[in-house]
């Protein structure tokens, strides 16, 4: 369920150069075409959709680099 929502957000905001359906959960989103500005939009969309706020300590490339890393970050935020 959460992965589906993450992928929908990536589809709308990440501006990937490849087909999202072909994207592996561990695939590097930046290498797949996500720009820095697009990553800002992805972050804001994730915050709005999941009602969380990424703290400054999580504003790092590693957090937003894959579906796996995004899921991990969201699970951490939603656990609190």
């Amino acid at each position: 369920m959460i992965d589906g929502q993450i992928r929908e957000i990536l589809k709308e905001h990440a501006r990937l150069a490849i087909d999202l359906a072909a994207l592996d959960d561990a695939a590097d989103l930046y290498q797949a075409g996500m720009t820095s500005h697009a990553s800002v939009n992805v972050m804001l969309a994730l915050e709005g959709n999941f009602d969380v706020e990424f703290p400054d300590r999580m504003l790092k490339r590693k957090v937003f680099e894959s579906v796996d890393s995004i899921r991990q970050a969201l699970n951490e935020l939603m656990a609190h």
Binding site: T35, H37, V40, N41, M43, M58, K60, R61
Partner: protein
């Protein structure tokens, strides 16, 4: 959006110049503002940047904001944080020097990375025209 490569130029022994540049589509800034509103502004720009950019109204602001995003990205390309270093966009701030020229103010990990790299100062140039905004940053550091 086009990203430019960071080039390293060695001018003389002991001094290195590094450069970063970025190009931003102004419409992308407008779209982000329309979609996310104040949340977008607060996460990317400082209050001082927003005040400066919006001083002549909202329409004129988009080009200025886009140029500032390009500047932040240009500086980021010089600082080269690793994937595990947190670096909020607001920790790289475009300010105005007394001369009126744009300048860079760093905080948090951005400042730490600059210090660790021996960066003495930055030079910055911004521009926007039509659909695009661009920024080029130079950093001089002692090798």
């Amino acid at each position: 959006m086009f990203g430019w490569l960071v080039k390293r130029l060695k001018l003389q022994q002991g001094l290195r110049v590094e450069v970063g540049a970025d190009l931003v589509r102004i419409a992308d800034i407008g779209a982000a503002l329309e979609t996310f509103g104040e949340r977008y502004l607060k996460r990317v720009f400082t209050d001082r940047e927003v005040r400066y950019c919006t001083r002549s109204g909202t329409d004129a602001a988009l080009g200025s904001l886009a140029a500032r995003f390009a500047a932040k990205e240009a500086v980021m390309k010089i600082l080269r944080p690793d994937a595990n270093t947190d670096l909020p966009w607001t920790s790289i701030e475009v300010i105005r020097a007394e001369s009126g020229a744009p300048d860079i103010a760093l905080s948090g990990n951005a400042a730490r990375l600059a210090n660790a790299a021996g960066i003495a100062r930055f030079a910055l140039s911004l521009s926007h025209d039509g659909d695009y905004a661009t920024a080029t940053a130079l950093a001089m550091r002692f090798a």
